[in-house]
Symmetry: C6
Subunit: 77 residues, 6 copies
């Protein structure tokens, strides 16, 4: 069985950011498992400035965690 | 007696994320112990984009804590 | 004289979480010392989904601090 | 001249929490230096559940900083 | 192929802050990829005090991450 | 050319707090570069309790970063 989150380690900061976005979306799926409802809600936040900012706050929090997990990709830079 | 939170250590990032979700729900139970009221409120946030994002922010904060507790599961990756 | 917060060290994660809840409530008492007013406000947040989520965010922030203080109870696990 | 913030080091967690409250209030004074306006606004948040929770979030953030500054008062416990 | 985020390491705090701003904007682009919609929303937050503050909170979170990644530019100071 | 942010290192906690305030204001300038608009918005948040609290949250986040950068000014205390 494949895990949706096998590791927090990524090769690059860009991949780490993509993982942060994935994590922020996954929590929403857990709270609202119905894809139809999520699709119906999407315009509520994708076209609402406050909601877009709130989503980017969640991403920022996950990106902090993933960056620490990767020791900030210092070796790669 | 069994603790609802015996440890922050998990085997995998996926289990750590599940624990973050559990922690975010538990605080809500403490503030609103009545299951009937919680059930009545559920549509308020499960079908509201802002609330779904806010829940995912709480999960992100707990996931940061649990990730640090597990040293980011670096040994497993 | 007894301190309301003698230490951040707890024996278990569960006790640490209880302390996080206590801390989140104490700050509200400081800003609104009148117990009657607090009692009157209680339904405002105990039956409001957004407020319940906001309270759980505060608890999550304190739990992060207390978890770090206890080195994530790694020795106990 | 005396500093309003000479140090982040306190003897106890309780004093550290009091300093976190002081810090959260000080930032509001800086943004709104007029004491009359602040007094007028006070009922807006002291009797509003959402605002009380938001204040306690700021306190929680400062308490995290001060707790780290004091190495979580581990030596005292 | 060039990465939009090749590294978190910058020469100065000022460049680190600029990167934090870039990161906060990028997450909004991911959630709302349509530039026309984003342009239409811009006045919603650029002329709204609450939204401006919320954006600055996201920037602050990313700046914390980038500052840690650069060991706070201590060697440069 | 002078940088607006040459270093995160300050001599005292008080100066560190002032820098946190400067950082929280700077992000708002970046998102809304027009000083006239900012002046027009100022009453929206300087006389609004929720906005004042939100600003103090941003300051708290930056103060956490700056405090870590200065190793919490432990040597000075």
């Amino acid at each position: 069985m494949t895990s949706w989150l096998p590791t927090l380690v990524t090769d690059t900061p860009e991949e780490g950011h993509a993982l942060a976005v994935k994590l922020s979306r996954f929590a929403i799926k857990l709270t609202q498992p119905d894809a139809d409802v999520r699709d119906r809600l999407r315009p509520d936040y994708a076209e609402d400035a406050d909601a877009l900012i709130a989503v980017s706050q969640v991403v920022a929090t996950h990106f902090a965690t993933i960056s620490a997990a990767n020791d900030y990709w210092r070796d790669a830079s």
